[in-house]
Symmetry: C2
Subunit: 195 residues, 2 copies
Amino acid sequence: MSNFEAFFDYIQEISGKLLSADDKHLLMAHFKPKKLRKRQYFLQEGDVCKYIGFIVKGSARTFTVDEKGHEHILKLSLENWWLADFESFYLLTPSRFNIEALEDLEVLQSTNAQIEEFLKHIPAFSAMANVISQNYTIANQKRVQAAMSYTAEERYEDLISNYPHFLKRFSQNMIASYLGLSPETLSRIRKNSLK
Amino acid sequence: MSNFEAFFDYIQEISGKLLSADDKHLLMAHFKPKKLRKRQYFLQEGDVCKYIGFIVKGSARTFTVDEKGHEHILKLSLENWWLADFESFYLLTPSRFNIEALEDLEVLQSTNAQIEEFLKHIPAFSAMANVISQNYTIANQKRVQAAMSYTAEERYEDLISNYPHFLKRFSQNMIASYLGLSPETLSRIRKNSLK
DNA sequence: CTATTAACGTGATTTAGGTCACTACCCTGA
DNA sequence: TCAGGGTAGTGACCTAAATCACGTTAATAG
């Protein structure tokens, strides 16, 4: 399956280790391909996040809805990213987040229990998990810092330089919400920075 | 050393595994006690974060200074927390952060290379690392969400309910900066919420 | 092929929170 | 013992960004 080829490549590249034929069979046996159409939910608020998904194709957003009905996007995800509310996934508590497909979505998904098995038995998988966890920590650290210390304009500039491809794949509304801005403010920022 | 006893207890409690006598000797051989006086720096901006420290006693803040000279506190740390800029520590890049003792500080510190050894040879240590990494991911996720979707007042309420002991150990100036607020705003919020 | 709905732009107005200025109260150290 | 830095409270003012209101165009569904 070409789905799995891309997945295997990803694991090997991130981990710097090779997957054996057995490793691959184990992964193929327990990662299930799943398709979601645009606007379908991978996870709904209140549910436990039973599955973690690896995005093969498409995009998604992770967001909350506050008491005033406003949506706040916590994460935008594309190909070769993992999809889950890790708090809910690790602790098996009901999630405070929604994860929704923004484009038709193909993921490979598995359960917490299975992931534990992969970590134990597949060295490349476990090495990958460590690297990803580091990357997440770093990315989150940056994001907190940006949210707290940067102005709206600086956060947008930051996004442009770090994730330029986001602008192609996500609507301005989504980007604005991801940056913690109103769509109007983002529109004005773009206008000013065109000069 | 009573220092190490608390450290060993912590590892065993978090990991759910026991440390052997050999494990303990290995840890004692390569975690060095270090004392910092109030206002001394554990890490300075521009330096590579060569050491990770486990706080035995005292408190510290991790902060940046922006172009206008304003300080932004990213993290406040107390006993039984780890002290490091993980980005710099993992990637060996110059840090964008400062870590400063807010009270006289006692840490047990070690290097990246040594940590790799502990992870390989001490199962309890490696299990602890996994749990901590999960906790960090969860805490960071919450903090990003709070920074993006909550008002100043909600963030303060959130702090009170999640980290009430922070109020006893850190000055209002520090709390304000941690919450991304001016000291004046925090002072007014406190006044209003007293009613 | 219309009819909606989503996406983006732009002006007028409001507001949360920042900035500046001044006061009072500890501490801590010479 | 007293001076000076750190800490907190409060008023007056300012500004970045949200909100509200409206148009325009582009995309999508029936």
